[in-house]
Amino acid sequence: ENVSLIFEKSRKGKEGFKLSSLKVPEIEVSQTLGEDLLRDELDLPEVSEIDVVRHYTELSRMNFGVDNGFYPLGSCTMKYNPKINEEIAAMSGFTELHPYAPEELSQGTLEIMYDTQNLLAEITGMDYFTLQPAAGAHGELTGILIIKKYLENKGEKRTKIIVPDSAHGTNPASANQAGFDIVNVKSDSEGLIDIEALKTVVDEDVAALMLTNPNTLGLFEKNILEISKILHDKGALLYYDGANLNAVMGIARPGDMGFDVVHLNLHKTFSTPHGGGGPGSGAVGVKAFLRDFLPKPLAAKNDEMYFLDYDIPYSIGKIHGFYGNIGVVLKAYAYIRSLGAKGLKEASEIATLNANYLLKKIENMFDAPKDALCKHEFVVSCKNWKEKYGVRALDVAKRLLDYGFHPPTIYFPLIVDEALMIEPTETESKDTLDSFADALRKIYEEAKQTPDILKSAPHATPVRRVDEVKAAREMKLKYQG
């Protein structure tokens, strides 16, 4: 059967939510608002409560979340989302608080914000944090605008941002959105930044280098101090994309590596749920010299009172309404308080152990550097599958769905052909990793013997392989019922 839409269940006159009759006097809206401002019709569904509940329950069952199984989506850190954090975030003291409520009556959330800023600073080795950006890319934009404003304030007109060829697509996009030109720098044979290539592009026009460490291949940029020196020597800054922080908590801090600005993905490293695509939180940390450029306001503390500090002289302004995705921050805070220093370090250690173990279990099927040391994730290539069996990374991904697993990230990073980017995370057990490796091995055999099974996969999902081309061509972007 087709995936149903709520519009198809609508019947004229059905009612779901209904208010009791008005207790204040009725009014004539044509008088209060004016006839010419009123709308003629309002075409929303008319369904009963049971219709709504069944419909969205059914839709939910067509989804796959971390609670439904292994989700080794590289670069996304799909770790387990603790239930207690959901319970906490649903406490009415947090959910019912208006952002413009008086500060003295909002001390709880202000305390959470203030503490989280400081906790993140300690975890990253930075000095100040803003919680305002709503997502990783939003954090990138914020961080780059901070750099821009800082340079402007110094009277410098630097126009370029350097981005490695292995970087997340958001890095160049964010830098571009901040008005910079993008300079790509390539990776060396090890998969790390090519230092010599870097040196050739760093000049007085460069505002910053954006870097993920460990990088998107799951490799630690071991020359990071040298890289830092190259940039700083030319007066450029170093920007840290925190998407991969889950590899190094308590082990190495971007602040100690020479980074000036970092963004974190609280929904990755700090285990707040991804929500089907959001909300996230892209907190941004800076070294002290950049504090005065952060967005307004910051949570601050004065004696025993927490308050919102708008005294940020060269602030870039605001990047989001109010103070950011505070409900998400709250879950990250709860997570940090649950794990403490030892627990966070252990999370990174086990995440790294899991990645190395899984790589070891599957490496002989792929083009992969043998006995490589990865961090929390790794990338293998299906190039040989494609060449030998005509099977692509996409087919492998779709077939994994039939085995009950969410596939890894595919075709990223761009520098690896037919890439599978696998991030197992620390919350997954050896048993799960083993069964995933077994499934991949079965699929490998299928690729050899019955490749069509892969090419026509998935077979066991609510819908079969979808036609993306048709979607892009026909552009049916809303229901025409």
């Binding site: 008319e46 697509g169 309404g321 969410h406």
Partner: protein, 443 residues
């Protein structure tokens, strides 16, 4: 071992498989001089009982969460139905990632498709994206989009727009050197159309208005329609979706891009986030719109299916050439909005708008009977600016009655002394409004 999948002996087995004796050796590639050679300085870990107790205690310090709330100004205390909360809490929804694997993500995809449809119908736009961060940032994205389309770099703002939206838009504009001009507002808290018109020059890509405006006033939108047409600039309208239960869609007065804060649609206040920004535009600008979009297609069996589409605009393909750097949406918040709209439906949604408006009008009509309170402009929807003597004292009295009587406008406008912006939703009872009137000196 909090939230770790293995048993200790499994870890040993894994180390053995790897042929190493300790996990530490997996970090041998990290140079010693960048390693952190101490334990992070964080509070001791709490078990679940301790954590819940601690956080519950902290939550109780948010005393305002329990007060009768008349503050609006961009975030509204509408009722969030139990159905919305129950369904959004389905873990298949909230623990999933972006629906890149469409075959196993039809739940999120179909819901977003519904969202796009309902928001398109509400706003009158041809196409609506899958949501972006929030109201303020969606406006920021809208001005970038307009400037890109028009290849111009100035935007003119109504002076009666949310001041923090203006600040945010300026930040967005800063990156690309976009010039933001803002008109003043009149003494009756409306946009000064004459001044606005004057600010529109050849370099102007778009005009931005808020409808209703920040002061709650229902603007004379014919004016802006006229100006935008005459000057051939795009019209960006920021709106509160609840008001669209009664008010005509911005498409009717020429909007090219409609943005706004989706929080009032089934999302809790949460001290300002997570919310969702909505954004819709005309068909011709579709490919210039930021944010993800879901499209209808078919699967291999020819069955209807949904998938993320128009991805050629996005950064994982286009990198620096992308329409925007946005690569996520506020999916769960958009889901809440979708369920909210479906559940309230045609009549329920109109009723929420109507009750909010009727409560506002009741307050105004009662307030008009008194000399102690001045209504600045009664042509409002769900918020109104009042002026009272001794505001600070009265505000304090309200607090003592566990009531947040509104937003003091001098927070943003030092010149607006003794003025309060008061918002009304369907949740406010007649009795609560009467108490507010009393506190403000109307008895």
């Amino acid at each position: 071992m909090r939230y770790i999948g293995h048993s200790p002996s499994q870890i040993d087995e894994m180390l053995e498989t790897l042929g190493i004796s300790s996990i530490e050796s997996l970090f041998n590639d990290i140079p010693d001089n960048v390693k952190l050679n101490r334990e992070m300085n964080l509070p001791r870990p709490l078990d679940e009982i301790e954590l819940k107790r601690e956080l519950l205690n902290i939550s109780k310090k948010n005393k305002a969460a329990d007060y009768v709330n008349f503050i609006g100004a961009g975030a509204y205390d509408h009722y969030v139905p139990a159905v919305v909360k129950a369904l959004v809490s389905r873990s298949e929804f909230y623990t999933s990632y972006t629906p890149y694997q469409a075959e196993r993500s039809q739940g999120t995809l179909a819901a977003i498709f519904e969202y796009q449809t309902m928001m398109a119908r509400l706003t009158g736009m041809d196409v609506v994206n899958a949501s972006i961060y929030d109201g303020a940032s969606s406006l920021g994205e809208a001005i970038l989009m307009a400037c890109n389309i028009k290849k111009k770099n100035k935007v003119v703002f109504s002076g009666a727009i949310h001041p923090e939206y203006l600040t945010t838009a300026k930040t967005y504009g800063f990156g690309n050197g976009i010039d933001i001009a803002s008109s003043v507002y009149t003494s009756s808290c409306e946009t000064d159309w004459k001044q606005l018109e004057k600010l529109v020059d050849d370099n102007t890509a778009a005009i931005v208005i808020s409808m209703p405006n920040f002061f709650g006033v229902v603007e004379d939108v014919k004016q802006v329609e006229k100006i935008a047409q005459a000057k051939d600039v795009m019209l960006i309208v920021s709106t509160n979706p609840i008001t669209l239960g009664l008010l005509k869609p911005p498409s009717d007065y020429g909007a090219d891009i409609v943005v706004g804060e989706g929080q009032p649609l089934g999302n809790s206040l949460n001290f300002g986030g997570p919310y969702l920004g909505f954004m819709g535009t005309r068909a011709k600008y579709m490919r210039r719109m930021p944010g993800r979009i879901v499209g209808e297609t078919v699967d291999a069996d020819g069955k209807r299916a949904f998938v993320l589409t128009l991805q050629a605009r996005e950064q994982h393909i286009r990198r620096e050439k992308a329409t925007s750097n946005i690569c996520s949406n506020q999916a769960l918040n958009a889901l809440a909005a979708t369920i909210y709209l479906a559940y309230l439906g045609k009549n329920g949604f109109r009723d929420v708008a109507y009750h909010s408006h009727a409560n506002t009008q009741y307050f105004i009509n009662e307030a008009k009977k008194s000399d102690h309170i001045k209504i600045i402009n009664p042509k409002v929807f769900n918020e109104v600016v009042v002026e009272v003597n001794d505001l600070d004292k009265k505000y304090q009295t309200a607090i003592e009655h566990k009531m947040l009587p509104g937003l003091k406008l001098n927070k943003f406008y030092p010149e607006q002394k003794n003025r309060l912006l008061i918002a009304f939703t369907e949740k406010r009872t007649k009795q609560e409004i009467q108490e507010l009137l009393k506190v403000l000196g109307v008895s």
